[in-house]
Amino acid sequence: MGKIAFKRVKGSKSLRQRLLLSALSLKPIIIDEIRADDMIPGLRPHEMSLIRLFDAVSDDSIIEVNETGTQLKYKPGTIMGGKNLVHNCALSRSIGYYLEPLIVLGIFGKKPLSIRLRGITNDPKDPSVDTFRSTTLHILKRFGVPAEGLELKIEARGVAPDGGGEVLLTIPNAQRLTAVHWEDEGMVTRIRGVTFSAKVSTDFEHSMRYAARGIFNNLLPDVHISEDHRYGPPAGKSPGYGISLVAETTSGCFISADTAVSWGRTDETGELDVEKEKRNPAEDTGAETASWLLQEIEKGGVVDSTHQGLLFLLCALCDNDVSKVRVGTLSPYAVETLRNIKEFLGVTFALKPDQETGTVALICTGIGRGDLFRKMS
């Protein structure tokens, strides 16, 4: 045991999860060939920023990156948590990118985590902070994470390319996660949402809301979409607008969809992101997001496709009991999560596809990662 046995993996694929699972399972890893054949090899700024974030919340972790950035060596330390932490997220990805692993890490820390993240709050690529507030935190509560102290405060909005947003995340420690039997997806009782506009006119919000409501009107009367218009410093540094929608079901499931529109950010290569070149008008954005939400509802399952990965991870980390959850079609990210979970935690899920509804039931036993780091009282 004198020498550390590193687990070797390749590629930048699911870097977040690998780091997270490595930190949770205390298995040191080496990631090789990170974009070795790319024009610009090595780690991207957001990945470096993520690694810094991991280092900030943990103690005694060892991180080595080689000169070209194509190899990363990570030996996890103790997850500490702590108060009054500040992290500046790289602007190549939004805060959602960092939040996804961070919330899981925070639950298993030694102390409750309270961290201020600065960067881009809304972005079409990653789940927005609004979605985190409305959906992700509810999923955590299902697993027995105490509700008090579980909070995400949006202090300032910020969109691409210059960001300037700021959120305050507080996560309590969970003694242990309880296994869930979460199969009943229920029926959608209400749809809630929030639109925001930063440094632009509220007209954008109005038209987004109008378009979204127009789609829901066929199905449900109980639709409320609130507005969040920001100007001045809380609006960040770039102009943009966006929408985040949540459908709530009778059984307490939350299904979300969101997007944001802003100027495209310049890539490292100096070109603009291709997809960002054409920006949709606000009505189309609203309609698209609403349609996407309906699509998610149609797929079924207790969570939307974005949160599948998180759900599986939490299932794998809970007590030694059997969890059973039902999700819609597995997203590629979820599949990747399942594989990573098997690789790092050794937890296999039994998958039972349900032909009639097109959903998949997943069964697993948790590893019972309890309070390994906690101090005995």
């Binding site: 045991m1 590629g11 694929k13 870097l15 977040r16 999860q17 399972s25 205390l26 060939e33 070795a36 054949d37 103690d59 005694d60 330390g77 103790t78 990118y97 690529k125 990653d126 789940p127 009943d184 997806e185 029926m187 959608v188 789609i215 449900l220 997007t259 309609a287 698209e288 349609s291 309906l294 699509q295 509802i297 079924g300 974005t306 949160h307 998180l310 009991d321 059997v322 079609t329 597995l330 997203s331 990210y333 050794g346 296999t348 039994a350 998958l351 039972k352 596809p353 349900d354 509804t357 097109g358 998949v360 039931a361 069964i363 036993t365 590893i367 990662r369 309070d371 906690r374 005995m376």
Partner: protein, 1120 residues
């Protein structure tokens, strides 16, 4: 049972109506029922008078009640429990093996020649036990304490307690304290009954103080024909078999196997090449604790950490009897398995069964070479023997061979390859019955890219057992309903796609384009490769580096949700839609999932093993089809209640067994109507605890139901190997010493390592020196700790927490107090207890356990600090500023200490300012610091800076490899300072300056008396002038005066004087009288003493004489 009718009717038991037995029994009975009818003599005296007092009493009783309650834990073991381990421990020569032999004889009616290794026996219909004899050295004791469910502590009654017993008790206490029973032996050495009784009493009370008062202590009075008396063994066996075990935290969270068999499976040629090559071994034993997940690492006590190369479930060598209703055990079922003792005749391996035949029983009809030695191995070969051998040599059974042909059916892979496949499969986990078509098919399909080819012309075998004969039914795939096959194939497919063989194209599943349900079904999963091709994304490398994004959005193919008909398809997912349809949907997925599952996985017959898999729900699923989730919840609650009830009254006939599959459920429903016992228990105490217990029980039942739904392979994949199964663990690259020095009398403990427990780190523990260990422990002296499954040597640093939260290093542990210990080692979860030793040798005097402790937390850094005093001398003084040298060696160091306070010996306080490199003109010397003081200091002053420095805890730990050396050799690790000093004859270093010396101070100089010149005196003012007062010659008036009393005064004075005189005389006379009296009494006493002494002597003389006479008489008689 016709025979029973012929038997004469047995007389029924007549209960005692009077006598001590009856009284005792009735008392116990009353206690059980909670009735106390001991009439108070004066009930009014104890009536409640004060309301406050009554309240207080109530509060006290409530508090006591709450203290009794423990947080309920969920029992995650399903199915048959593994045999309970009964460790028999005691000092050498106390009769351990004899107790085991007697108990084995009692349970199985078989004689055990010798006790080596664990001995498993079936002791009852639902109970198996495993006896382990605890070896006498400390390593064996530690390992035994970790596995024991019940410890029988054997004590030599004629000698008394020995240290081993207490050591073992202490080891057990830190590792979770299993049940303990004491057994006193050698009681026949007492001749005097009274002395025997006294000794028993004394030992019992000593035992009670150590465990708890009322702990069971057994007395084995003596040997009869070299065995303990049958009656006593029977009693002991009864106590052993009714004992209940409570779960211990460490063990319920870690799987472990107490190996009862070890085989060396290294290829013989490898061993021949190099005798000291690393070996591959297999260990066999029951899995205990919790489920063993695949890929878990294990620690073999005394060897090290290994990953399991293979785990196989073997059929139970000592199974419980069938559940048929009958009283007691048949003789046939009194099984008994002890491979290390060389008893069990059958050995089941993964793919073979070995029959042990004693050498003299082996007979060949004819031997070729004429030598009449039938048992030679490998010299002479007979044709028949050859034939038999060749038959034995086949590696695979007929079924498997058949399958080989089947594999040859498609593809040109030769049998070799198929054999390889089979081997691969063997390495995998497979069901105990060697052949399984299904799994081989699956493994095949993992490689095969196209499923369609398989479907068209495939013959499946279906093996069943009909009337003792194995029938293999050939089933053509076409016969099976196509849709059914699809559905059945779907499940492994999805799992395979997700977890598929890594070699195959990494496939992810995407379902993006799906407008109608049909196409959805067909393209439910689409390989990622295709998708990336569609997008135009590039090669495999690109995939490896694909973007890390949880959101998966493609707006391109969104449906037009504005259209009504499109909306209608999800109308039922909204509350505005059809609720019944939605409920149906939920039911399908939730509760009704079972209904569908029945078609999928329900009551199918396993083709490989020929056994039928019944789903517990399955049978009633028809009835329960319409049940919603609530009903299921209700049923689970009912089950939970039942289980709880059973747990409370375990002695009732077990009419309901959870594992009697569906019958249990049915019965549960029936019982609910008739018996209302569960309701009673609920009505009694619907408190928080009850609710919690119920919740846990429901959870347990849910787990059980969910897992029951899965097929065997998936189940193992998901929950791991279940406790109670007999496992074969294959471990590769074990040092050869383990095999060479293997001693079956020492337990081989294989313990699973939990998450993060194979990493090493700093652990902080609360430690207390054992009160029986003579010496205190020294910081940085290596100690041997037994923690979790491991034993290792490590170097602790002791500390204590100051009031300000600082951890101050201690050089030695406190005498009677807890302190903190920080050490480096493989991590264990907080709250794990451990025990520390200094040496392991058995020939130590005194108590070997040096400390007991519990881990509080682990860290990746240490926070221990110790005092440091930096000493400096002034080199230049300017008013209140001084330049101090010798305190620091570099300017960098100074920078670290800027602003800290300093002090001189004389008590002048100051502050460190800055490095003074530039301020001193000529001095280029480093490490001179400028300090300011509250007053000017002198050049002769010494300046101190008092600070704290962190203490490094050595990163050292050395696993004990006691199994890799002869067991009688003591393991030696790092030596303590003291040992090294003694070994190398090095004296303890002495710093002369640190020695205490007598302080010699210069005598103070005596000054001459002050003389003021006359001239000066004259000039001084009067105030300052020395006053020359001459001495008085005449006495003062005060002393000269005479006192003249009044006549009354005089009278009073006289009376007082008289009284005093009288009093004095009185006391004097009384004292004289008392003296005389005492004298007389003393004389009398002396006289009496002399008389009694004389009498006693005579009496005794008389008695001895008669005794001697009688003895002589007896002697004479006996001689006659």
């Amino acid at each position: 049972m016709a025979g029973d009718e012929l038997m004469p009717p047995q007389r029924s038991h007549r209960t005692r109506k009077s006598g001590p037995t009856m009284r005792k029994k009735s008392e116990i009975d009353k206690k059980k029922r909670g009735v106390s009818d001991n009439k108070q003599q004066n009930p009014r005296a104890f009536a409640v008078k004060s309301g406050v007092k009554a309240k207080r009493l109530q509060a006290r009783s409530a508090e006591k009640e709450q203290k009794r309650i423990h947080l309920p834990t969920i029992d995650r073991t399903y199915g048959e429990p593994p045999p309970f381990v009964i460790v028999v421990q005691g000092p050498p020569g106390v009769g351990k093996s004899l107790v085991i032999k007697s108990l084995v004889k009692h349970f199985t009616h078989q004689n055990l020649p010798e006790v080596r290794g664990p001995i498993t026996i079936v002791s009852g219909k639902h109970k198996r036990i495993q006896f382990v004899e605890c070896p006498n050295d400390i390593n064996g004791m530690v390992d035994c304490a970790k596995v024991a469910d019940l410890a029988l502590l054997l004590i030599d009654g004629s000698y008394g307690f020995e240290m081993e017993t207490f050591e073992f008790l202490n080891i057990m206490q830190v590792h979770g304290f299993p049940k303990v029973m004491g057994v006193l032996t050698h009681l026949d050495k007492f001749k005097d009954v009274k002395k025997l009784r006294k000794t028993k009493q004394r030992l019992k009370h000593r035992f009670w103080t150590e465990i708890y008062s009322g702990a069971k202590l057994f007395y084995l009075s003596g040997l009869i024909h070299g065995k303990y008396s049958q009656r006593e063994v029977l009693n002991l066996a009864r106590f052993v078999s009714v004992i209940k075990f409570h779960p211990l935290k460490w063990r319920t969270s870690h799987p472990y196997v107490l190996a009862d068999r070890l085989e060396d499976v290294t290829p013989p040629e490898k061993v021949q090449m190099d005798k000291k090559c690393d070996r591959n071994i297999t260990l066999y034993g029951y899995l205990r604790g919790c489920n063993l997940k695949k890929g878990m690492k294990v620690h073999i006590a005394g060897v090290g950490d290994y990953s399991l190369a293979g785990v196989t479930v073997l059929p139970d060598p000592c199974p419980l009897p069938s559940a048929a209703k009958k009283k007691g055990l048949r003789d046939k079922e009194k099984l008994f398995y002890a491979p290390m003792s060389g008893i069990g005749d059958l050995l089941y391996d993964k793919d073979a069964v070995y029959i042990n035949i004693n050498d003299h029983l082996v007979q060949y009809s004819k031997t070729d070479d004429g030598t009449e030695e039938p048992t030679n191995k490998g010299k002479g070969r007979d044709v028949g023997e050859d034939l038999v051998k060749s038959l034995q040599n086949t590696k695979y059974s007929v079924d498997e061979k058949l399958e080989k042909t089947f594999i040859n059916l498609f593809g040109k892979k030769t049998s070799a390859s198929s054999e390889r496949k089979l081997e691969a499969e063997d390495a995998d986990l497979s069901s105990p019955e060697g052949s399984d078509t299904e799994s081989s098919k699956e493994s095949q399909s993992g490689d095969d890219s196209d499923d369609d080819e398989r479907n068209d012309s495939k013959i499946k075998q279906k093996t069943e057992i009909h009337g003792g004969r194995m029938r293999r039914k050939a089933i053509f795939k076409d016969e099976v309903g196509q849709s059914d096959a699809m559905v059945r194939n779907k499940n492994p497919n999805l799992m395979q796609i997700v977890y598929g063989a890594s070699g195959s194209s990494a496939t992810a599943l995407i379902n993006e384009t799906s407008d109608d349900e049909e196409s959805d079904n067909e393209e439910f999963f689409k390989p990622k490769g295709e998708q990336s091709k569609n997008i135009g994304g590039g090669s495999d490398v690109g995939y490896v580096n694909s973007e890390d994004c949880s959101k998966f959005v493609s707006y391109g193919n969104l449906k037009n949700w504005k259209e009504k008909e499109v909306c209608e398809c999800i109308r039922d997912r909204f509350t505005t839609g059809d609720w019944s349809k939605a409920a149906l949907r939920n039911q399908n997925s939730g509760a009704g999932d079972d209904g569908e599952d029945d078609e999928l996985y329900g009551d199918f017959e396993d083709v490989e093993t020929g056994e039928k898999h019944h789903n517990p729900e399955n049978m009633e699923s028809g009835a329960n089809q319409n049940e919603d989730a609530e009903a299921i919840e209700r049923r689970l609650k009912k089950l939970a209640l039942r289980a709880k009830f059973e747990a409370e009254y375990p002695f009732l006939p077990a009419s309901f067994n959870l594992f009697n599959n569906k019958s249990g459920l049915d019965e549960g429903d029936d019982d609910e109507g008739g018996g209302n016992n569960p309701d009673n228990s609920q009505a009694k105490e619907p408190g928080y605890l009850e609710k919690l217990k119920e919740e846990l029980e429901i959870r347990r039942q849910k787990n059980f139901l969910e897992l029951n739904d899965l097929d065997e392979d998936t189940r193992i994949e998901i929950e791991g190997f279940r406790t109670g199964t007999y496992l074969r663990l294959e471990i590769h690259n074990v040092p050869y010493e383990m095999v060479d020095f293997f001693d079956p009398s020492y337990p081989v403990l294989v313990g699973g390592i939990g998450y993060g427990e194979d990493n090493a780190g700093y652990m902080q523990a609360r430690l207390k020196k054992h009160r029986w260990h003579k010496k205190v422990l020294k910081t940085r002296d290596p100690i041997i700790v037994s923690i979790g499954w491991r034993r290792y040597q490590t170097i602790p640093v002791y500390a204590i927490e100051d009031r300000n939260g600082r951890h101050r290093m201690l050089k030695y542990t406190p005498e009677h107090m807890h302190c903190l210990a920080m050490f480096w080692g493989p991590l264990v979860p907080p709250n794990t207890g451990f025990v520390a030793f200094q040496h392991l040798s058995s020939n130590q005097a005194g108590f070997r356990i040096t400390a007991t402790s519990v881990v509080m937390e682990f860290n990746h850094q240490t926070r221990i600090a110790k005092k440091i005093k930096l000493v400096g001398h002034p080199c230049k003084i300017k008013k209140n500023t001084a330049f101090i040298k010798d305190m620091f060696t570099s300017d960098l160091e100074i920078a670290r200490f800027e602003g800290s306070s300093v002090r001189t010996v004389s008590g002048i306080r100051g502050q460190v300012k800055k490095a003074a490199k530039n301020m001193l003109e000529n001095n280029a010397q480093d490490g001179i610091v400028r300090c300011t003081f509250e007053d000017q200091i002198k050049m002769s002053d010494i300046v101190f800076l008092r600070a704290w420095t962190t203490v490094e805890v050595p990163k050292f730990y050395n696993p004990l490899t006691t199994a890799l050396q002869p067991r009688d050799k003591t393991w030696t690790g790092m030596k303590t300072f003291r040992e090294l000093r003694i070994e190398h004859n090095i004296p303890i270093p002495v710093n002369k300056d640190s020695l205490y010396k007598k302080i010699e101070r210069k005598e103070k100089k005596k000054f001459n008396p002050l003389v003021i010149p006359k001239k000066l005196q004259a000039a001084l003012p009067f105030k300052s002038k020395p006053k020359d007062v001459p001495g008085r010659k005449r006495p003062t008036l005060d002393s000269r005066r005479a006192v003249v009393m009044d006549p009354e005064q005089r009278k009073a004075h006289a009376i007082l004087q008289h009284y005093q005189l009288i009093n004095k005389i009185k006391t004097n006379t009384r004292k004289a009288k008392e003296k005389e009296k005492r004298k007389v009494h003393q004389a009398q006493k002396a006289k009496n003493e002399i008389i009694s002494k004389k009498r006693n002597r005579e009496e005794r003389r008389e008695r001895y004489r008669t005794e001697d006479k009688e003895k002589k008489k007896k002697m004479r008689r006996s001689e006659d």
